[in-house]
Amino acid sequence: MNTRHQRTLVGILFVAAMTLVAAFIAVPEVFRIILGISMVFFIPGLAIMHAAFPSKELAPTERLLASLGISLGATVCTAVLLAALPVGLTRDSISITLAGSTIIVSSYAWFRMRFTATRKRNLDVRPKVSYARSERKITHGRLQRFCGDLRLY
């Protein structure tokens, strides 16, 4: 499994959990501002991106841009939906909904990432023969699957 993805997901879960905590317990204002801004502009989108792209690496700028756009879109929809429901748009309701949905999506992303990693491992037919570092780029791929370690290419 991709450890960088894992670390990011742990970070997302931490921020979402802290937002949930901050909804019920008084926290320093600076902390609240940082959590709030990240929850509206970044964290939900990043969680969704990890769920949608469990293994495929996007360019960092693309990932950042997508996280920002998706977070804003998701927050707009969540806020409008909450305000339209009897529960109303309050600090508690928006914190719980945004943080809760982020935790759910992150968990889904986590399991999906594990599943993808396992499937990749099972499908990996590369030979267990070591080869020079300089050759790895060349030998990795479809051609090598056919040729095995005979180096017929």
Binding site: T19, E29, R32, I33, L35, G36, I37, M39, V40, F41, I48, A51, A52, F53, A59, T61, E62, L65, A66, L68, G69, I70, L72, G73, A74, T75, V76, C77, T78, A79, V80, A83, A84, G88, L89, T90, R91, I94, S95, L98
Partner: protein
């Protein structure tokens, strides 16, 4: 003309054609860029082809003009020289912002306004021109262009923040501030918005602002700035990426982004806390997202797209319709040119989702929007434009709106020059785009890439620009013409960006002429200067001369910005009169009264109450009909004419609207103090609030109304 050449020391032969650049389509692999360049002797005369010496290391400064994200080869090593130049461009941005801040402060302190405006434009040039030169320059990597374009977008956003650093100032900002306050107070949607009832039915920006206020504890002003700042970042980035996909060139994409930044709305209007300024970036994001992920098979991706489309639909009507139309045209164009079904299907599905969501929200939820959009805005503008074309109406005198000081000649000239530059460069740009889109271009840069659907759509959008200038000549259509530029400049940017890329590209047309690399730089400078002129000219179109800079803290005439004493009176009204009291008030003061005072302001239909010399039957009837309980009098009305573009105090439908040459007489405001049916309840500085409840409930009828039309009043 194909020339066979020989590389020294390798012995293999390769071919090249006249023209620049060598492209990846000719290279054997996408990552490998041909860098073949013929050697031209000092005497400037090329020898026979066999005698040519090939230098592969030349052109290495520009890896590829194609610069597709996946295929472009970008230097990974840290380049100190390049970083230094980028830092210099950023420094110019900071200098430009400083000049803008000085200009704003000069205006606020009541200094020479004309000099302040010149300083303001100097600041804009300092920010824009070096950035334009850098991003169009040939030896710049894609990532640097992308970064500089985003920084430029944010710097232009900072111009607006510097102009109003402590509170909102534009009328649209007050409209959405009131929406936000309603949501924060009631926790629910669709609260009454007296400034613009339709805005309450598109609560996207207000809801997200209220969420941010709830989550962070920041003020609505700071939250609004953050939201619009994030939106500015999204639209700057997405437009660059979309233009890059459409034009297949990062230079053209940079040109497109620069031209979009030059649209008249970008500097101030698109920086304001308004629903369109969130919806349009989200719509741009949807386009980029679909283009980026349409090849993916994951089921989550369409769900994500639908979420953002829904966000656009509940945030702004025109942006939602524009998104639906663009997706529909995209699907239709791909259908015409027989693209693969699977990739086309996702675009068609999303067009259907976007169209249906927008229409359902528009007709079933936001019902007042129908009459607002068509009855009050689009149809009158179309009627006036039709009358203008048929010769039944005279064109409006441009730059004459507002009653403030007349704009200097250079100010008007810049506006005309900007439009003329765009109109004159549009035909060759369209021709070039057409050549590329349909593979008619002989240069190999764009060959073998199929019909470019995105470019065809951009051409259609760009071709509408000259038509969009017609409503500008009418009184009702000016706003529509200006606002349409936010959409038209997307296509216009792509098409003109291609022309800019062609012009800025280093090339050698004749082998017999000595290669003079500085020509490329000169062309780049000229193009950057042209785009800068367009930026300055379009800025003059968007803002009237008097409203370009913040108003003086001690205005001499009738102010166009909300004044501190009005805010004070509004807060007094909220504390002492309660919320949502019907108060008749002028258009400028209504913004503060509706937001800081949270009152139910009556403006458009209140003009008969103020614009009468006596408390006659018309005044009384208007008070009774509109259930007006208080009258908010600003004595600065008698000091000067309104300087807003429509040139009116209350409503565009008041009798002297657009024709004020002198302020209203004092007797019109003095009448409230002389009648025995009204009671002065607040007086501070220029502001007075009168209680007219007894007239409203019919318990007291002013003598002047009784004698004149007693029968009419009684009825």
């Amino acid at each position: 003309v194909r020339v066979q050449s020989r590389t020294p020391g390798q012995g293999d032969t390769s071919t090249f054609r006249k023209g620049w650049p060598p492209t990846s389509s000719r290279a054997s692999s996408p990552d490998r860029v041909s860098t073949i360049r013929p050697f031209v002797p000092q005497d400037g005369l090329a020898r026979l082809p066999q005698a040519l010496i090939i230098h592969h290391e030349e052109y290495s400064t520009e890896p590829s003009q194609i610069s597709h994200p996946k295929t472009s080869k970008t230097p990974s090593r840290f380049n100190f020289q390049r970083t230094r130049v980028t830092a210099l461009v950023v420094l110019y941005m900071v200098v430009g912002l400083t000049l803008v801040a000085v200009a704003d402060q000069t205006s606020v302190r009541g200094g020479n306004y004309n000099e302040a405006v010149i300083l303001f434009f100097a600041g804009l040039i300092a920010m824009f021109f070096p950035t334009a030169v850098r991003v169009l320059a040939p030896d710049v990597i894609r990532q640097e262009r992308f970064t500089l374009i985003i920084l430029l977008g944010l710097a232009l956003y900072a111009v607006k923040i510097i102009g109003s650093p402590s509170s909102f100032t534009f009328i649209d900002e007050y409209i959405h501030l009131r929406n936000t306050q309603n949501i924060l107070d009631t926790h629910h949607l669709f609260g009454l918005n007296p400034l613009l009832p339709t805005a309450a039915y598109y609560p996207g920006v207000a809801a997200v602002c209220a969420s941010l206020v709830d989550l962070t504890g920041l003020s609505p002003f700071v939250s609004g700035l953050l939201i619009i700042g994030a939106s500015r970042l999204i639209i700057s980035a997405c437009l660059f990426l979309i233009a890059e996909k459409a034009t297949k060139s990062s230079v053209a994409a940079a040109g497109a982004s620069l031209l979009y930044a030059a649209n008249p709305m970008f500097l101030f209007w698109s920086s304001s806390f308004s629903y369109e300024d969130l919806a349009l970036p989200l719509a741009a994001f949807v386009i980029w997202w679909i283009a980026r992920t349409r090849g993916e098979t994951d089921r989550l991706i369409p769900i994500i797209t639908i979420i953002v489309i829904a966000a656009v639909a509940v945030t702004h009507h025109i942006a939602a319709f524009a998104l639906s139309a663009l997706l529909g045209v995209w699907w239709l164009t791909e259908r015409l040119f027989r693209r693969s079904n699977a990739r086309r299907r996702i675009v068609g599905t999303m067009a259907l989702v976007s169209g249906s969501t927008s229409l359902i929200w528009f007709f079933f939820v936001a019902r007042p929007a129908v009459s607002y959009l068509f009855g009050e805005n689009i149809l009158p503008a179309l009627q006036q434009t039709a009358a203008l074309i048929s010769g039944h109406a005279k064109p409006r005198h441009l730059y004459s709106g507002g009653g403030g000081p007349a704009a200097p000649e250079w100010y008007m000239l810049a506006g005309f020059a900007a439009v003329a530059l765009i109109v004159f460069t549009l035909p060759p740009a369209l021709y070039r785009a057409w050549s590329i889109a349909f593979q008619r271009d002989e240069s190999s840069l764009y060959r073998n890439r199929g019909v470019n659907v995105a470019l065809i759509i951009a051409m259609v959008v760009a071709a509408a620009f000259p038509v969009s200038q017609l409503p500008r000549l009418t009184t009702q259509g000016g706003a529509i013409s200006a606002r349409s530029s936010e959409y038209l400049f997307t296509g216009l940017g792509c098409v003109l960006g291609l022309l800019a890329e062609k012009a800025a590209r280093p090339r050698r047309t004749r082998l017999r002429r000595p290669y003079f690399r500085a020509w490329a730089w000169i062309r780049t400078l000229v193009i950057a200067a042209v785009i800068t002129v367009i930026l300055l000219g379009e800025a003059t179109i968007a803002s009237s001369y008097t409203e370009l800079l913040p108003e003086s803290s001690n205005p001499t005439g009738y102010p166009w910005m909300v004044q501190p004493d009005v805010i004070q009176a509004s807060e007094w009204a909220r504390e002492h009169l309660g919320f949502n009291q019907p108060i008749a008030v002028g258009i400028v003061d209504s913004q503060a009264l509706a937001t800081y005072g949270e009152q139910d302001t009556i403006t458009a239909s209140a003009w008969p109450i103020f614009l009468s010399n006596t408390m006659n039957s018309v005044v009384v009837n208007t008070i009774i009909t509109n259930k007006v309980r208080y009258v908010f009098v600003d004595w600065r009305m008698i000091d000067g004419v309104p300087t807003n573009p429509g040139n009116y105090y209350f409503s565009p439908w008041e009798p002297q609207s657009g024709k004020y040459t002198k302020p209203i007489p004092a007797v019109m405001l003095r009448k409230f103090a002389t009648t025995d049916c009204s009671r002065l309840i607040y007086s501070f500085g220029s502001i007075q609030i009168f209680d007219v409840t007894r007239i409203e409930n019919g318990s007291c009828i002013p003598r002047t109304a009784r004698t004149a039309h007693s029968g009419q009043v009684a009825s």
